[in-house]
Symmetry: C2
DNA sequence: CGGCATCCCTGATGATACTG
DNA sequence: CAGTATCATCAGGGATGCCG
């Protein structure tokens, strides 16, 4: 069995590369089926081309997505999730589920904190 | 059951605040018991006081940790995880477990990618 | 269509010094 | 002990323009 997991540099680095801002969106979308570059852009309207390219490269390098070049007319490039990427799906879903379940509590906590800060601080 | 979770701005923001570089370390440590400020610094040797302070404030604001001031001689401040923070423990463990299980595959993928890049690119 | 190259700017982080 | 304040750095991300 895998023993007590520890936060090490390598683990942290991997999580950073895989759970960063845009990678979550990309993986989320790609889990539902392959998409082309501009398809992804449309699916994630707020991302810039640069950030999307970077995220895709990172994910490809880490073996989470596959880049398939279809040498047709101009060119078509399809991105699809890999089996390794699939293993993250449950985790991501669990993460999103957690946020959905606890966001209300968190926002209450934030309100309390901000309120207390206002009283103690400037006001 | 909660339906298909979606990546929204609010969820993403929460994950950013809770899964960031130092918060993971802090939550990980605090799950094992309360610690004081410098205790945490010692437990996470690479963190600077500024980053640690920021992480603790963020976690406190989000209701994940509790800050207890013990008004003794100089002053003692104890940080302990809250019930809300506890709900993250399983997720964090699962995340770390995932990295531990898949790091080898990921590193193989990286090697392949870097190798292919080297051939296609510069040399 | 699917990128890469460039410039620029901001936010996050580190080092250092000082305070209740 | 437990921070706050300040300065310097630096990677990430947006805007823009060009290429196969």
């Amino acid at each position: 069995m895998t023993e007590t997991p520890q936060v090490t540099g390598r683990h942290r680095e991997l999580l950073d590369q895989v759970l960063d801002k845009w990678s979550l969106h990309v993986l989320d979308r790609l889990c539902e089926g392959p998409l082309r570059f501009n398809g992804l852009r449309r699916a994630i309207p707020v991302v810039t081309q640069k950030s999307l390219t970077a995220a895709l490269r990172r994910l490809e390098r880490n073996g989470m997505v596959e880049r398939v070049v279809v040498s047709t007319r101009p060119v078509a490039v399809e991105y699809r999730i890999t089996p390794l990427g699939k293993t993250l799906q449950d985790l991501i879903d669990a993460l999103l589920l957690w946020t959905a379940d606890n966001l209300p509590d968190v926002e209450r906590a934030r309100a309390r904190f901000d309120d207390a800060s206002a009283v103690a601080g400037g006001e």
